[in-house]
């Protein structure tokens, strides 16, 4: 209680001041926590929306509705736009901000494709190519990647062809299937506890979508289609491909690494042959929607006799009465593993309350399940309750969330197996350009590492306070300062960080500067968004005292083409007495 009181006092002292201008590549992303990665597909979707469209139309609304971070209301608004029932998004400030960022400045009309080539120097050279092309009713997407040290030019590639024929929508190649609330098949990135999470969890999947991320093993590869069926809509897919991973007794571990440099990595490249079939039928019921999912898969691992099959099914639905919306998904597998996620939200004017309960069995594995959960570790299961409250007091918007969670299985030597996460945010809008925001986050969780000592270290609550000041000098010059303090609540010293950013428009040139200085104590590492090229959203973790300088230089060669160059220098010593680590990248954005 004393700790919470102290934190609240600190909270009162911290202010976050910023204008409603864009500093990052997309201002909406600045609000997300850099500790939680975002799907790469979101950035590709935004890049395509910017390249192909010029305003909010049914076509652009359809594309934007695939963004992962949208709330249930925002998603519904885009669906209404898609059906031609809504033409004004003034009630949705975040969408409005995003649309303004996307479609301002010089625009080239009649664009049929966009292409990005990025050369990124880290420990070696990474090449990435991303393309999206529209030819009449056909949409074609390509993605290629060669990581540092990999011997094949196209160590990873992904393609899709999407088309409509009458009431049927086909996707051939790499696709993903988002059904229910993620207990059977979802994106490669799960939803994590944060401000606004209850609203994101409530949003159900939209069925078949082209796969645009560079995750090398997550996509389905084959045929996916959607069609009207009975009184509902059928989404179905069949996939046969090779993935990286391993087969355990009752589940498959899909590799998230995608690097093939060492002898072992090369040997295990595409080491599992996977065949999957999945179908989702969804229908409209009075005041809601109900759906049923059924699927199955078979996996065989090379060089071993390991073989695994799994059948899965789930039922899901949502129901709305007045201001109250309830939802749930319940899933079963043939491995006798079950999972449930359920909750609701209530909204009245500026008052909002959301609650989500989940219980996921240990070693629960469906096909591409990735539901909301706090721990990445799936072996021990998880149950928990997330609550979120938003209301307006005078001119101040208050946002509070709290997630309490517990492992279903206990490790040997473990005294405690639960955790909690709490966040408090205040913001006040003074006028059309200036508002103040305050954020505090307290986290306590058992370690993901199983060691006894690791557990003890990480079970101490960690508090993080961030202060950001944004200042727009004029239309061409903007500045930002962010202070961050993080400490473990056991009287240990605090880690401190300061980030300075500026952005300058000089005609066809754009220059961005970026500086970070950190003083790190113990394991209280600090996370900041890195200096990112358009289409990147990397965060950087600072683990030692040091300094970091970054710079981006962009040149717009024509209304539809840009060249971007990024260079960063990191000194991992307070007194600069160390050879700095230099990184750089070159990116070419073109449209045809």
């Amino acid at each position: 209680m004393r700790i919470l009181a102290l934190s609240l006092i600190r909270l009162g002292l911290v202010t976050l001041i910023f204008h409603n201008v864009s500093f990052g590549q997309y201002d909406v992303y600045d609000a997300f926590d850099p500790e939680n990665p975002l799907p790469e597909s979101d950035l590709i979707i935004l890049n395509n929306a910017k390249a192909f469209h010029h305003s909010l139309t049914p076509e652009s609304a359809l594309l934007l509705s695939q963004l992962s971070f949208l709330s249930h209301e925002e998603h519904y608004a885009l669906e209404q736009t898609l059906q031609g029932d809504l033409h004004n998004l003034d009630r949705y400030p975040r969408l409005n901000l995003l649309l303004n960022e996307l479609w301002t400045g010089r625009r080239e009309i009649n664009i049929h494709g966009s292409f990005i080539h990025r050369i990124n120097r880290t420990d070696g050279i990474q090449h990435k190519w991303i393309g999206d092309f529209q030819f009449d009713q056909f949409r074609i997407g390509i993605l290629g990647e060669r990581d540092p040290g990999e011997l094949d030019i196209l160590d990873h590639y992904s393609m899709f062809l999407n088309t409509k024929f009458q009431d049927y929508d086909y996707t051939i190649g790499n696709f993903q299937m988002l059904v229910g609330h993620g207990l059977v098949s979802w994106r490669s990135m799960p939803v994590k506890s944060d401000f606004g999470t209850t609203n994101s969890i409530l949003r159900r999947g939209r069925g078949i979508q082209p796969f645009r991320s560079s995750h090398e093993s997550w996509a389905y590869r084959g045929l996916g289609w959607e069609q009207p069926m009975g009184h509902g809509q059928l989404s179905a897919g069949i996939s046969h491909r090779k993935i990286d991973g391993s087969i355990d007794k009752d589940h498959v571990n899909i590799s998230n690494v995608g690097l093939h440099v060492s002898e072992n990595q090369i040997k295990n490249h595409d080491n599992i042959i996977e065949t999957i079939g999945l179908a989702d039928w969804e229908t409209i019921i009075p005041n809601g929607i109900a759906g049923f999912v059924v699927g199955g898969g078979a996996w065989r691992q090379d060089h071993t006799d390991r073989y695994f099959t799994n059948l899965t099914s789930s039922v899901y639905g949502n129901y709305t009465i007045s201001n109250l919306t309830l939802f749930s998904e319940l899933a079963f597998t043939s491995q006798n593993k079950n999972a449930i996620i359920m909750g609701g939200k209530m909204k009245h004017d500026s008052f909002y309350y959301g609650i989500v309960f989940r219980e996921i069995d240990n070693n629960y594995f469906a096909l591409r399940d990735n539901p909301f959960r706090n721990w990445n570790n799936k072996e021990l299961g998880e149950t928990g309750v997330l609550q979120e409250l938003r209301f307006r007091y005078d001119k101040i918007n208050v946002n509070v969330y709290s997630d309490i969670f517990r492992r279903l299985e206990k490790l040997k030597g473990e005294f405690k197996r639960d955790g909690h996460e709490t966040g408090i945010g205040l913001d006040q809008k003074f006028n059309s350009k200036l508002w103040i925001q305050t954020k505090l986050k307290i986290q306590e969780a058992s370690s993901e590492n199983y060691g006894y000592n690791d557990y003890n270290i990480s079970s101490v609550p960690i508090s993080t306070i961030k202060t950001t000041i944004k200042w727009k000098h004029d239309t061409n010059n903007s500045f930002q300062c962010q202070l961050q303090e993080k400490h473990t609540q056991n009287n240990s010293p605090s880690s401190l960080g300061i980030q300075l950013r500026s952005k300058h428009y000089l005609g066809l040139w754009t220059v961005k500067w970026y500086w970070v200085t950190t003083k790190i104590e113990g394991l209280s590492w600090l996370y900041y968004w890195d200096v990112n090229l358009p289409g990147e959203m990397k965060s950087k973790v600072f683990t030692r005292h040091g300094h970091y300088l970054g710079n981006i230089l962009s040149y717009q060669t024509s209304p539809s083409t840009e060249i971007h160059f990024r260079i960063s220098t990191a000194w991992r010593a307070w007194n600069f007495d160390e050879i700095p680590v230099v990184r750089c990248a070159l990116q070419i954005n073109v449209s045809i």
Binding site: H117, I125, H127, L151, D152, I153, T557, I563, I588, I592
Partner: protein
């Protein structure tokens, strides 16, 4: 004296074949030598074509679309200044019904070791913004007393006009992962990317990257200046390997004659290259 020269020459040749030429931990393999025109080499070993109707077509077939007449070009030089490492390049091509077509031949080596490459080249444009070039390469490797081996490779090149002053290019060599010989030696897979800048009618600048997947990336810069209507001069720098380059090009009626001078700073070798191209003007 003659004996000493011969011994020195053999040592240099052995160095080139068996030692680490430019990199401390890798050894070049078959077909790792780039086939560039004299003027591409002069302008910093730019891996893409600078002018149409030239040997640059061999490394970048997209330029075939800019050719307006049938042409032929050839070049002979000694790699690294070594007499026994002869490289000869020839190409013929033209633009037929908005489809660029060409045929190329390159040979490299000596009487004991010979690399031969025959290339069928094609190019097509889209919306006058994008030029796509494809090259089908037939590789043949001959080593005396060991026999010969063949493989089929490919090259895909894309050139994009990013406005009136900037062009960008990229290419992928051997995406089909060819191997050669009984030992299944992997042929080079190379990613190239480049930017060509024309700030005015007299100056062309280039920055390029060449990434053989088994070697560190090679960064290259170069500049061309139009001295007179008929004469261009060029200077460039290659990092990895460390090369200083310079040269000139003379246009005379249907002919273009190119010279280049490459100084390998770390090895002390100097290469001169001369090329000629002829364009049939009806």
């Amino acid at each position: 004296m003659a004996s000493f020269q011969s011994t020195s020459h053999v040592i240099h040749t052995i160095l080139c074949f068996s030692m680490v030429l430019f990199c401390s931990n890798k050894v070049y393999g078959a077909f790792d030598s780039e086939s560039l025109s004299s003027f591409q080499n002069a302008a910093g070993a730019f891996p893409f074509s600078i002018y149409p109707n030239s040997l640059g077509v061999l490394s970048d077939p997209t330029i075939l679309l800019i050719n307006r007449s049938p042409f032929g070009a050839g070049s002979i030089n000694r790699k690294f200044g070594l007499r026994s490492l002869m490289e000869s390049l020839f190409v013929v091509g033209g633009n037929f019904r908005n489809l660029g077509l060409g045929l190329g031949l390159s040979r490299f080596g000596n009487s004991s070791y010979q690399e031969t490459q025959i290339s069928i080249l094609g190019a097509k444009s889209y919306k006058e913004l994008v030029q796509l070039g494809i090259s089908l390469n037939m590789y043949q490797l001959s080593i005396s007393n060991y026999g010969q081996a063949e493989a089929i490779g490919s090259k895909v090149s894309v050139r994009y006009a990013m406005g009136t002053h900037v062009e960008t290019m990229m290419s992928f060599l051997n995406v089909n992962r060819p191997v050669i010989g009984q030992s299944n030696e992997k042929l080079p897979q190379i990613i190239s990317a480049g930017i060509l800048i024309r700030p005015n009618k007299k100056i062309i600048g280039q920055a390029s990257f060449v990434q053989d997947t088994e070697f560190p990336i090679s960064v290259r810069f170069g500049m061309i200046y139009k001295l007179l209507d008929q004469i261009d001069i060029a200077v460039g720098k290659v990092q990895q390997p460390n090369i200083f380059t310079t040269g000139a090009c003379i246009n005379w009626k249907e002919f273009r004659i190119e010279f280049s001078y490459l100084s390998y700073a770390n090895l002390g070798f100097i290469t001169y290259q001369t090329g000629i191209s002829y364009t049939h003007i009806p």
